[in-house]
Subunit: 201 residues, 2 copies
DNA sequence: ACAAAATTACACTGACCAGTTTACTTTTAC
DNA sequence: GTAAAAGTAAACTGGTCAGTGTAATTTTGT
C-alpha cells in the first residue's frame, strides 16, 4: 500500500522557472498556462499535475522567490563595523531587487497582484514584517552596545524601512531609473539624518 | 455643413461613473465593457461611441480622478503657523486617499496598472513630481523665513515624501489598516525627526 | 525486466470578452 | 413637427483561456 514515489523535482523546477519567466514578462493576467507549459518543455497536463491551478502556480513561484530573497537580509550586528556601513547593508539588501532585471520583473508582477488582492497581500505584509524583525534585532544589539538610543525597536525599523522603500523601492517598481550616483548620495543623506536623531553621544 | 451638436455630457458622465465604480471594484482586467454599459444604464454601443476602447475609457477615468485629487495639494507657507502643523498638512494631503474608500479603490487599480505599464507610469511620475514642487516651494519659503536650513529643496522634498509614502501610502494601498492613533504618533515622530535635522537654531 | 508512476499529445468544454453590425427607437434643436 | 443626432437591443465575430478527459508513451526504482 505504500506509494512508490519518484523524483519529479526536475519537471517541477522547469515549470516553476518557466512560470517565473512568463509571469515576469507578461504579468499574471496575460500569461497563459499554455505558454508556461510550452516554455517548460512540458505538456499542459503535467503542469496541472504539479500545480492544481494557475493561482497556486503563481503563489509557488512567489514562495520560491521570496525564500531566496529573504536569505539576503539577515545582517548580524558587528561591533567592529561602523553603524553607517551596517545600515547601508540593510538598504542594499532591500534594494537589491532593482539591480537584477529578473527579480525586478517578478517583484513588479507580485506587487501588482498584491495590490488588487488584499488577502494575498496580507501574507506579503507578514513577510515584510519578518524582514523588519532582522533590522529590529540589529537595533536592539546596537542599543545594548550603547551606540543608539531609542524606545521601541519595531517602530524604529518600520520608520527606517518606510523611508528606504519610499526612496528606492517604489520609484524603481514604478519604472524610475535612479542613477548610481544619486542612490549613493541619497543613501548617505538618509543614514546621516537617521543617526543624527538616534545615535547616542 | 455645420454639425449640429447636442449635449451628451450626461451619458458620458454616467459612463465614466460606472467605469470608475467597476474598475475600482474588479480591477482593470476583470472589468468588462458589458458590465460597464449595464452599470451606466446604457448600451454597449453608446459606450463605444463615447470612448473608442476600454483602454481609453480607463485613461479618461484616471484623468478625471487625478484632476480632482490634485486640487488638494497646494499648501502655501504661512509664517503664523508652526512648521509642525504645516508639514502635517502636507502629510494629510498625501494620505487623504486612504480616508476615502472610493479613492483608495481607484488608486489601487491605478497603481497596479502603472506598475505593469512603464510608459503609463511615466505620466504618473510626472504628477508625483508636480506634487513635490509644491512642497519644495514651501521649503524655500521656510528657508527664506530662516526657519529651516538645507541646500537643495527638491532633494529635500523627495526625501520628505519618500518617508511619508513608505509609512502611510503604500502600506494602505497594500491593504494595511493603520489605526488613527498610530497614524498620529507616527506623523509626530516623523515630523519631529525631520525638524531635528533641518530646523535652524 | 517490468510494473507503477510520470509524462505527453491533443481534442474538448464552457466560459469570457473586446469590439462590430444592423435595424430600430428616442430625443432634441430649430 | 421634423430631421438629424443620439441612443438601444441583441446577435455576432473572432479570439483567448482555464481546466479536463483520455489513451498512449516514456521513465525509473527495484
Amino acid at each position: 500500500m505504500t506509494k512508490i514515489k519518484r523524483d519529479t523535482s526536475k519537471k517541477r523546477t522547469a515549470i516553476l522557472d518557466a512560470a517565473q519567466k512568463a509571469f515576469m514578462e507578461f504579468g499574471y493576467e496575460n500569461t497563459s498556462m499554455d505558454q508556461i507549459s510550452e516554455l517548460a518543455d512540458s505538456s499542459k497536463r503535467t503542469v496541472y499535475n504539479h500545480f492544481p491551478s494557475k493561482d497556486e502556480l503563481f503563489e509557488a513561484v512567489l514562495e520560491r522567490f521570496f525564500q531566496e530573497a529573504s536569505e539576503l537580509k539577515n545582517i548580524p550586528y558587528d561591533k567592529q563595523q561602523s553603524l553607517e556601513s551596517q545600515l547601508e547593508k540593510f538598504i542594499d539588501a532591500k534594494i537589491i531587487v532593482s539591480k537584477n532585471q529578473e527579480w525586478l520583473g517578478l517583484m513588479r508582477v507580485a506587487m501588482s497582484v498584491f495590490i488588487l488582492n488584499p488577502q494575498v497581500a496580507e501574507e506579503m505584509m507578514d513577510r515584510i514584517h519578518k524582514m523588519d524583525d532582522h533590522l529590529a534585532k540589529w537595533f536592539e544589539a546596537a542599543k545594548k552596545d550603547k551606540k543608539l538610543k531609542f524606545s521601541k525597536s519595531d517602530e524604529l525599523s518600520e520608520l527606517f524601512y518606510a523611508g528606504v522603500s519610499g526612496l528606492f523601492f517604489w520609484p524603481v517598481i514604478l519604472g524610475a531609473k535612479i542613477p548610481d550616483k544619486k542612490v549613493k548620495s541619497l543613501k548617505k543623506t538618509y543614514i546621516d539624518n537617521f543617526l543624527k536623531v538616534y545615535r547616542s553621544h
